[in-house]
C-alpha cells in the first residue's frame, strides 16, 4: 500500500514522468542498436557531411567521414548509459561502505572517513580522472573506476547522515541487546532503512558520471574502441564552420539523458519527502 502511494506520488510529478519515459526510450535505443544497425557504426556508409534530412537513408545525416549519425547515436547510447551506470555503481559501493562505517562507528573512524571525503573533494575531480586515466591507460574499466573514485563523496556523506540518525534507534539497540554483530546490524538492519535517499542520490550520480565520461571522451582520452556521445562531439569539433550539426546532435542526446536523470532524481526525492514537495 505504501509502495503504491509512492509510485502514485512519483507519477503525479509530470517532469519525473516525462524523464522516466524518455530514459526508457534512450535505453530502448541502446538495446535495439545492434538489431537496427547490425554493422559497425564506425563504418563508412555514405557521402560525408550530409545534413539531417538531406538523404532519407540517413535521418540524422552523416559525419565528416560518411558514417551514419543515427547509427552512431544509437550505439553511443549503449556506451554512454553503461559507463554512467557502472561508474555510479562504483561510486555507490565506495560511498555506502565508507559512509556506513563512518556513521555507525563514529569517533576516530568517522573523523578519518570524513577527512578522506574532504580530500577527494579537494582534488579537482576532472583533473584527477584525467591523471588516473593517463597514468593507468585509457581503457573502459579505468575510466569507470576513475569516475567512481571521484564521485563517491556525496553518497558517503548522505549514508553517514542516515546512519547517524538510525544507529541509536530502538530496533538497532534491540539487535545489539540480542548480541548481533556490528557488520550484520550495518548490512541487514540499518542499511535497508538508509537506502532510499541514497538511491535517489545515485540516480543523480549517474547523470554526473555521464557528463564526466563525455568530457573525458571529448578531450580524446576515452577508450579508443568505444564511440560514446562525448567522443562524437569531439570528433565533430573541426567542422563547426560547415557542419555544426555533427557536434550538436550528440550533445543534445547527452543533454536530454542527463536532464531526464535529474528529473527522475527530483521526482524520487519529492516522492520520498512529500512534505518538501511544495518548495
Amino acid at each position: 500500500m505504501q509502495r503504491f502511494e509512492f509510485i502514485g506520488r512519483f507519477a503525479r510529478n509530470r517532469g519525473a514522468l516525462i524523464g522516466a519515459v524518455l530514459i526508457l526510450v534512450v535505453a530502448l535505443m541502446a538495446l535495439l542498436a545492434p538489431l537496427v544497425f547490425p554493422v559497425d557504426p564506425l563504418r563508412i556508409v555514405g557521402q560525408p557531411e550530409l545534413w539531417p534530412g538531406e538523404d532519407p537513408d540517413f535521418p540524422l545525416g552523416t559525419d565528416s567521414l560518411g558514417r551514419d549519425m543515427l547509427s552512431m547515436i544509437m550505439h553511443g547510447a549503449r556506451a554512454t548509459l553503461l559507463i554512467g551506470l557502472f561508474a555510479s555503481a562504483v561510486a555507490t559501493l565506495i560511498g555506502v561502505s565508507v559512509g556506513a562505517i563512518a556513521g555507525y562507528f563514529g569517533g576516530w573512524i568517522d573523523e578519518i572517513a570524513m577527512r578522506a571525503a574532504e580530500l577527494f573533494q579537494t582534488i579537482p575531480n576532472l583533473i584527477f580522472v584525467l591523471t588516473i586515466v593517463v597514468i593507468l591507460g585509457s581503457t573502459l574499466t579505468n575510466i569507470v573506476i576513475a569516475i567512481g573514485v571521484v564521485s563517491w563523496t556525496p553518497i558517503a556523506r548522505m549514508t553517514r547522515a542516515e546512519f547517524l540518525s538510525l544507529r541509536d534507534r530502538e530496533f538497532v539497540q534491540a539487535c545489539r541487546a540480542m548480541g548481533m554483530g556490528d557488520l550484520k546490524i550495518i548490512a541487514a538492519e540499518i542499511l535497508p532503512n538508509a537506502l532510499p535517499p541514497v538511491i535517489v542520490l545515485s540516480s543523480l550520480v549517474v547523470a554526473g558520471a555521464i557528463l564526466f565520461e563525455s568530457a573525458v571522451s571529448f578531450l580524446g582520452l576515452g577508450d579508443p574502441n568505444v564511440a560514446s556521445w562525448g567522443r562524437l562531439v569531439g570528433d565533430g569539433r573541426q567542422l563547426i564552420r560547415s557542419s555544426w550539426y555533427i557536434c550538436a546532435i550528440p550533445g543534445v542526446a547527452i543533454m536530454i539523458t542527463v536532464l531526464c536523470l535529474n528529473l527522475i532524481g527530483d521526482g524520487l526525492n519529492d516522492a520520498l519527502n512529500p512534505k518538501l514537495r511544495d518548495r
Binding site: P124, F128, T131, I135, R157, S214, F218, C247, G251, M255
Partner: protein
C-alpha cells in the same frame, strides 16, 4: 547536497569589530592547520598514482619526451630516487614538494613550477569571471523566482536552470561559438588575445575581456543553474522564519524585508556550495580551455596528458588542490562575514 546546507535560524547579530577580527584570525589559523594533512593526503595520492603506473615511471617519461642521454637518465634516477626504498622515495617527494620543487619539464625545458605558474593567471581569471557570472545570474534568478513563485517567471527560471544544469559545458561552448562567432561574427572563436593586436593598456584589457565572454558563459551558466535552484528554495525557506514575520510586523515593506533580511541569510547555502564546488570549477575550466584554446592550466594539462608529461600532470594536481584549499578558506571567511553567529565550525 541538501545535507550540507546550513539552515539559518535567526537574523545576524552585529558583533563588535575587534572581536570579529580576532575570530576571523582564529578561523584562518585553524583552517591553515587543517590544510596541512589535506595537502599531505593529496601528495600521497599522487605518489600512489606514480607507483601504480605500469612500467617504470622513468622509462615512460624518458621515452615520451625523447630523453636518451645516459647522463640525463642517471640524473633523473637520482632526482627521483628510484633506487631508494618506497618509503624513502615518499619522504623525499614530500620534502621536494615542500620546497615547491615539482621536478623538471623536459618538454618545455623549464622547471614544472614555472611551466604551471605561467598558465595559472589565465585559469584564475576564467574561474573568477565564471564564478562571478554564476553568482550574479544565479542569485538574481533565484530571488526573482522566489518572489514570484508559481508564475511565468518562476517557471522560466526553473526550466532554464534545468537545461543549463544538464548541458555539457564543452558542448555549450561549441554551440556558443557556432552562434556568436561563426554565424553572427560578434565574438572571437578562441584564444585570449587577438594575434598581432595591442596587448598593452586599455585596448589590451578590452581585448581580453572580449575573448573572455564566451568561455565565461560556457563555464558559468552550469553553476548559475545550481545557484538559482538553491537560492530559490533557500529564499522560500528563510522567508517562513519568525524573524522575517517580525520584520514585516515592524512595518517594513516586503521588498525591504527581502533585501535586508531574507537575502543575506538565504545566501549562506549558496556560499557553502560555492566552497564545495571550487575544485569542480577548476576542473571544468580544463575542458573549457580546451574548447576555446584559452592559454591556462587546462591547456597545459591537456598538452601534458597527451605527451605523458607526468611531472607536469602531477604538479597541476597538487597546485590545483592548493588553489581549492585557498579558495575554500576564502569562502569560509566570507561565510563568517555574512553570518556572525558562526565563529569556528
Amino acid at each position: 547536497m541538501a545535507g550540507e546546507l546550513a539552515s539559518p535560524a535567526a537574523p545576524p547579530r552585529i558583533a563588535r569589530g575587534s572581536s570579529r577580527r580576532v575570530a576571523a584570525l582564529r578561523l584562518l589559523r585553524r583552517r591553515l592547520i587543517q590544510a596541512v594533512p589535506l595537502m599531505l593526503g593529496v601528495v600521497v595520492i599522487n605518489f600512489v598514482l606514480i607507483q601504480l603506473a605500469p612500467g617504470s615511471f622513468l622509462e615512460l617519461m624518458t621515452a615520451e619526451n625523447q630523453v636518451s642521454d645516459p647522463a640525463t637518465i642517471a640524473l633523473l634516477r637520482t632526482t627521483y630516487g628510484l633506487d631508494d626504498p618506497v618509503w624513502l622515495q615518499l619522504v623525499k617527494y614530500i620534502w621536494a614538494l615542500m620546497r615547491f620543487d615539482f621536478g623538471f619539464s623536459y618538454r618545455q625545458n623549464i622547471p614544472v613550477i614555472d611551466a604551471i605558474s605561467v598558465h595559472l593567471p589565465a585559469t584564475l581569471l576564467l574561474m573568477i569571471s565564471s564564478i562571478t557570472l554564476a553568482l550574479a545570474v544565479g542569485v538574481a534568478a533565484g530571488v526573482v523566482a522566489s518572489m514570484k513563485v508559481r508564475t511565468f517567471w518562476d517557471t522560466l527560471v526553473s526550466v532554464a536552470a534545468m537545461f543549463f544544469f544538464a548541458a555539457p559545458s564543452f558542448w555549450l561552448g561549441i554551440m556558443l561559438i557556432v552562434l556568436f562567432s561563426v554565424k553572427l561574427g560578434w565574438l572571437p572563436v578562441g584564444g585570449m588575445a587577438t594575434i598581432g593586436g595591442t596587448s598593452a593598456g586599455a585596448g589590451g584589457v578590452l581585448d581580453i575581456l572580449h575573448h573572455l565572454i564566451l568561455p565565461t558563459l560556457a563555464l558559468g551558466l552550469f553553476y548559475a543553474a545550481i545557484y538559482a535552484r538553491v537560492m530559490r528554495s533557500s529564499m522560500l525557506e528563510v522567508a517562513q522564519l519568525d524573524f522575517v514575520r517580525t520584520a514585516r510586523a515592524k512595518g517594513l515593506s516586503r521588498n525591504q524585508v527581502t533585501i535586508s533580511h531574507v537575502l543575506r541569510n538565504a545566501l549562506l547555502p549558496v556560499i557553502t556550495i560555492l566552497g564545495v564546488q571550487m575544485g569542480t570549477v577548476l576542473a571544468g575550466s580544463v575542458v573549457i580551455e580546451s574548447v576555446f584554446s584559452w592559454p591556462g592550466v587546462g591547456s597545459l594539462l591537456f598538452d601534458s596528458v597527451s605527451s605523458r608529461n607526468y611531472p607536469v600532470v602531477l604538479g597541476i594536481m597538487v597546485l590545483g588542490s592548493l588553489v581549492v584549499i585557498a579558495a575554500n578558506i576564502a569562502v569560509d571567511l566570507i561565510y563568517m562575514w555574512l553570518d556572525p553567529r558562526i565563529e569556528i565550525r
